[in-house]
């Protein structure tokens, strides 16, 4: 049943690709219908499965000679992320209602990307997972390069090459694992059950983990993220931050950590207190949290603020994974969901609601426009989204960050403390942006040239904002809706991943 999320998206993409000259109105309504259908399928699957274990969706021999099966299944983590993808897709289409140029192609690439993302979240055979993972690369490039803004060709190429380099690293690891196991199978569970020598895991784990973490925006491989987010059109930024970065984090958990759990074993020696890959990646995650927040604090481009905040928030996800505790990994998955929703909302405010009307993202210029008065809606939405993402209780971000920090406290107390500082800086950059853009009350010295009154907020924007804000609030107030689904799936991971690792 859930598999139809994939097929619907690809079928929609194919139809739109074959009708390049169709009217824009038709293309966007059609794309919205497809995305809503995908979300509906995802939600139905989510509700039907409840808190049960993995649900097998499809298992067909694909290339028997190579032992590759087209296997799809959804455990709790997958089901949560499928719902997130559906939400991001619907919201992304709502916020690109104004795309006028080559509309049909735009939505074709958009739906192809969504289809790839659904596929990654549902695949169990690692080969299938990798295929979908790579399918997602190409549409991203075109979405940014054709419909983007600031330095779009540079941003798009950087993103494509970083992704492809990451996936080459993943492929090396997968090939080596495939050949080494000799099992003639790429099934996740078969590979995870195989006892790879620890010496092998010690190099394969960091390779595959880094390959995926590049897409999750891990410092110092995050540099594609801010430039990519800024260059991308609103809907693509929303998808990039909302779901594509989650692909990376998901791959880290599902592939790197599950297949090579002993890659995180201690090396047997330590340098400055770093004695295993686990510590290395936790450290990089913490650096990402603080660095992303600090850099966001000094940006003048509104979108760069959000772009760097994504790096910071994804650092929390990676830190949560590296805690190797039940609560930390629960928190990481919840943070993936929460950040997916909130980053989408923030990008929508900046890229769609504000930029489409003022045609600038420069904080200094926006400050002079008195947006707090002239565009109250945007100010309110940004305030809500910003507070939710800085971890205000009552919204999804709070529950997620709390759990990650609790996990981190058990595993790496010092890192938890530093990550806490990062979160405080997060409050600072959100307030700074809010203050400079919407609440700026310094008297205007030179008169701002007259402009036509801003277009009213369209129904599409209302719908998108309500969808995302409502979701975040719902999850914030009733986190058990998701946690009850996530927790059993995390428990079912190899025991070592929730037992604090070895040594």
């Amino acid at each position: 049943m859930l598999a139809y999320t994939i097929y619907l998206s690809f079928a929609g993409a194919l139809v739109l690709a074959l009708l390049p000259r169709v009217a824009a109105g038709f293309a966007r309504v059609f794309a919205l219908a497809i995305a809503v259908a995908g979300l509906a399928v995802g939600l139905t699957g989510f509700i039907q499965a409840g808190t049960s274990g993995p649900v097998l969706i499809a298992d067909i021999p694909w290339i028997p000679a190579m032992g590759i099966h087209y296997t799809l299944a959804a455990d709790g983590i997958s089901r949560v992320l499928v719902v997130l993808t559906g939400l991001a897709a619907v919201a992304g289409i709502l916020f690109s209602w104004t795309v006028k140029e080559r509309t049909s192609e735009f939505f074709a690439f958009f739906l192809a990307l969504i289809g790839g993302v659904y596929g990654v979240f549902l695949a169990v055979d690692l080969f299938v997972l990798f295929v979908f993972y790579e399918i997602a690369i190409v549409p991203k490039y075109f979405l940014i390069a054709i419909w983007g803004s600031t330095r779009r060709e540079y941003g798009a190429m950087k993103l494509a090459l970083y992704s492809f380099l990451g996936s080459a690293m993943v492929l090396i690891g997968l090939l080596a694992a495939y050949v080494m196991s000799g099992a003639h199978s790429m099934d996740l569970h078969t590979l995870a059950a195989y006892q790879y020598p620890v010496s092998f895991q010690l190099w394969a784990f960091p390779l595959v983990f880094t390959g995926f973490a590049i897409l999750a925006g891990m410092w110092p491989f995050h540099t594609w993220a801010p430039t990519g987010h800024v260059a991308a059109p609103t809907a693509a930024s929303m998808l990039l931050a909302g779901v594509v970065m989650k692909l990376g984090a998901y791959g880290c958990l599902r592939v790197a950590m599950t297949v090579f759990p002993h890659g995180m074993d201690p090396w047997g020696w330590s340098f400055l207190g770093i004695g295993s890959w686990r510590t290395v990646f936790a450290l990089l995650a913490v650096i990402g949290i603080v660095y992303g927040a600090a850099v966001a604090l000094v940006q003048n481009d509104f979108k760069f603020v959000i772009g760097y905040s994504s790096v910071s928030h994804m650092g929390l996800v990676l830190l949560g994974l590296m805690t190797l505790t039940q609560v930390g990994i629960d928190g990481a998955v919840l943070q993936m969901f929460s950040h997916g929703v909130l980053a989408g909302l923030l990008f929508a405010v900046v890229g769609c609601i504000v930029y489409e009307r003022t045609h600038t993202r420069d904080l200094a210029i926006l400050g002079k426009l008195k947006l707090g008065k002239t565009m109250l809606f945007a100010a309110v939405v940004f305030a809500i989204a910003g507070m939710a993402s800085m971890g205000l209780p009552g919204f999804s971000g709070f529950v997620a960050e709390m759990q990650v920090l609790m996990g981190a406290w058990q595993a790496f107390p010092w890192f938890a403390a530093v990550a806490g500082i990062g979160i405080v800086v997060g409050v600072a950059y959100t307030w700074r942006a809010l203050q400079r853009v919407f609440l700026n009350d310094t008297p205007v010295t030179e008169p701002v040239e007259d402009h036509a009154p801003y277009a009213p907020i369209s129904w599409a924007e209302w719908a998108g904002v309500l969808l995302l804000t409502g979701t975040s609030l719902l999850v914030g107030l009733m986190p058990r809706l998701l946690l009850d689904v996530i927790a059993p799936a995390v428990q079912a991971l190899p025991h070592i991943l929730v037992a604090g690792g070895r040594g």
Binding site: F142, F164, A168, V179
Partner: protein
């Protein structure tokens, strides 16, 4: 040789015979009957006869897949069968795509030479004797030299042919010299005999010298570094269908030959004897992968870009040859066939753009998605397949090849490093393929006039693109013929 075995030979080489007859028929019809017709008419007629010849030969081949081998000269086995069928299909596609070409006033000779070259390729794939190999290679090479010079209106075409000829002639001399040493050392020209003698005899310096000489000759045919210098110029200057032929069928034949020669000089019983050959192949492979991919980065001509990418792909395939297991040899064949199919399509599309815009520079592709969406779509499929993006066939070919290389038991020392190099470099390759696709989809062209494409060409290109997608989605299909994994 008794009478029975000569019947056997005719039976075995009947597809080649059909091609030869077809080439003569084309000449007669073109020069005799159609003399007074317009050049365009004659081109279509000649190409149609050529395609028919290929189809007939293919039909015979498919209906008689297991003809008995002809001693140790020409063999018949499943992989030779697949290679030959592939070569016939590729040549047929090249002929289909050359129906609208206007570079020649002698379409009859053109098609006849293409058919002769195809005959050469088929014999190269089947030959297991040094003399037959050399004669077949020369048939192939001489036809291609002439074909490369076929556009008499462009100086580049002559330059391409001259470079191809000079390099080719020299490397043929090296190859022949190497063969003569092999013969001198082993006293036989049959590859099976050489393999047996190699195990028995001592490992002498002369053996290594002869291997180096053979490597020079074969390295030229597959455009491996450092014998690649002709490739960019020839790919750029030769008429587009000829470039497609050089890049496709000729590659398949040469890699099939490399597989059989490797089987002889790396005797299964005595790995030690084969080490020098494997090392030679690895050096060529590594250098080709690095230089091909880096060289392609800076090209502004799409044909030169594809030439450098061909060098890189040859490097990947050489890794499979060096691994010399039966799985890796199957993987090389799979790779060569699918790569060639994609390349034929790519050159077909390039030729159409070239005809409309006058050159093959990157800028000429600007705005192609607006000017002809379907043509742009086929280009997208070809280039992404060459870059190895799933679910296109290029990805499977790469995966299968590298998995086979990693699995090879004797490859433990070098395989992982080489595969890492190849995969890392294929990440680089995405950059230059995207450079082309960026022009096609992103950059606005100076004009939005649609590019007219003849329906037959478009149909051929779309069919190739669909095949690339379908073979990628259902890779098992080709696996019936070439063992996967």
């Amino acid at each position: 040789m008794n009478g029975a075995s000569l019947t056997n030979l005719l039976y075995l080489t009947f597809p080649e015979t059909i091609l030869e007859v077809a080439s003569l028929v084309v000449l007669v019809i073109d020069l005799g009957i159609l003399r007074r017709r317009s050049a365009a008419y004659r081109t279509v007629a000649a190409a149609a006869f050529g395609v028919m010849g290929c189809l007939l030969a293919l039909g015979w081949l498919l209906s008689h897949p297991l003809a008995p081998s002809f001693g140790e000269l020409l063999v018949s086995n499943p992989s030779v069968f697949v290679a030959q069928a592939g070569i016939l299909i590729l040549s047929g596609l090249v002929l289909l795509l050359s129906m609208r070409e206007e570079f020649s006033r002698n379409p009859g000779e053109f098609v006849a030479l293409v058919l002769l070259a195809t005959t050469g390729m088929m014999l190269v794939a089947a030959a297991r004797d040094l003399l037959v190999i050399f004669v077949a290679l020369e048939l192939l090479s001489l036809s291609l030299y002439v074909l490369a010079a076929f556009n008499k209106h462009r100086a580049e075409s002559s330059e391409a042919a001259l470079k191809y000829y000079l390099f080719g002639g020299m490397s043929a001399a090296f190859l022949l010299f190497g063969f003569s040493y092999l013969y001198g050392l082993t006293g036989t020209t049959s590859l099976a005999g050489i393999a047996a003698a190699a195990v028995a005899g001592p490992l002498t310096p002369l053996w290594i010298v002869s291997l180096v000489l053979v490597a020079v000759g074969l390295g030229f045919k597959v455009a491996a570094v450092p014998f690649h210098l002709w490739a960019p110029d020839t790919y750029q200057g030769a008429p587009a269908p000829v470039t497609a032929l050089i890049a496709s069928g000729s590659k398949v034949a040469s890699f099939a030959l490399l597989v059989s020669v490797t089987g002889a000089v790396v005797p299964a019983l005595d790995e030690q004897k084969g080490v020098s050959w494997v090392v030679l192949l690895l050096w060529m492979a590594g250098a080709s992968i690095i230089l091909g991919n880096l060289g392609a980065l800076v090209q502004t001509s799409v044909r030169r870009l594809l030439a450098y990418s061909a060098i890189a792909h040859a490097g990947y395939m050489l890794l499979g040859i060096a691994a010399h297991t039966s799985a890796s040899q199957g993987a090389v064949l799979y790779y060569a066939l699918t790569y060639s199919l994609t390349t034929v399509g790519a050159f077909g599309a390039v030729a159409i753009v070239e005809r409309a815009t006058g050159n093959d520079r990157l800028e000429s592709f600007s705005g192609l998605a607006r000017r002809n969406p379907l043509l742009a779509g086929t280009m997208l499929v070809y280039l992404l397949s060459l870059a190895g993006i799933p679910p296109l066939v290029g990805f499977w070919a790469k995966f299968n090849l590298f998995a086979a290389v990693l699995r090879a038991p004797q490859a433990g020392v070098w395989s992982l490093g080489m595969v890492i190099l190849a995969l890392g470099m294929s990440a680089v390759s995405l950059y230059y393929y995207l450079q082309v696709l960026k022009r096609v989809y992103v950059v606005k062209g100076t004009t939005e006039d649609s590019i007219p494409v003849h329906w037959l060409e478009l149909l051929t290109l779309v069919a190739i693109a669909v095949a690339v997608v379908l073979l990628g989605v259902f890779p098992g299909w080709l696996g019936q013929f070439i063992p996967l994994g």
